[in-house]
Symmetry: C2
Subunit: 140 residues, 2 copies
DNA sequence: CCGTATCCAAAACGATACTG
DNA sequence: CAGTATCGTTTTGGATACGG
């Protein structure tokens, strides 16, 4: 028969078997550009056009911007509005949920500002203090 | 000459050029097993041995557990202690920074519990409500 | 202007076999 | 017990060309 410990363990395990919301949220944010697109839209505090985003982000390719925006739209974080003009005009803006995610990423950023230097230092220690490039730690 | 807007834009861009701490933190958490290993060590609230972790996590391979622990150790989140016995005994525990990351992931989990269902619903809407598998949304 | 489609390289992940 | 080494698959990101 299972002990009380086994039951707790099974409960704990169940959270990882699939559908773990923490994982879902991290999947949204963990790809290369999502954080930056979100930040750009948050900064704009209003709708932005496709090429406006592209110029702001600088070195993102069309493919990756399209893909990132599509994912964010799918996840309900960004709203896409198409104006049927010629040439076409497409605007992107944060949804309510997107604004809320922005608060979450801001919290992560706050934590990062104070603790990422410790992570970077730990890495330098682990890597054997050989030829460490000068890392700017004052950014967000 | 640059306008005030251009200067703000350049400042904003500078945060993405490299060394963005938010990115650093997400890199730590975004891989497949880090969150779960962290959670296991947090739950144990003390040192755990390699195979103890392996059994608890269930379907992780040796390779991925080794790799994940190595990364977490490199990032200063987990402390590895080797006892020179035969057979060898190796213990893993959260560092202070690891405990602190635990608080961060807990915050993400809290947000996820309340909002991941909205993300999942948005995906279902976007995907055209075709054959959605029953998703358990009450987990962490 | 706002995308798609295609191809390619690199990285993450997993299965399996072997070692002090 | 606690790993390392190797190999194959899958996923991710980027470059380029083309279309409504």
């Amino acid at each position: 028969m299972g002990t009380a410990f086994d039951q707790d363990t099974e409960q704990w395990r169940a959270r990882f078997r699939n559908g773990c919301p923490s994982r879902t949220v991290l999947e949204v944010l963990a790809n290369k550009w999502a954080l930056y697109v979100l930040s750009a839209l948050r900064r704009a505090d209003g709708p932005m056009r496709f090429n406006e985003l592209r110029r702001l982000l600088g070195d993102i390719t069309q493919k990756m911007l399209t893909q990132t925006l599509k994912n964010l739209e799918r996840d309900g974080l960004v709203a896409r509005t198409v104006y049927p003009t010629v040439p076409p005009r497409v605007e992107y803006a944060l949804t309510e949920l997107g604004v809320d995610v922005g608060r979450l990423t801001h919290a992560v950023g706050e934590w990062a500002v104070t603790h990422a230097p410790e992570i970077i230092a730990a890495r330098a220690r682990y890597d054997g203090r050989a030829s460490q490039p000068p890392v700017p730690v004052t950014m967000i």
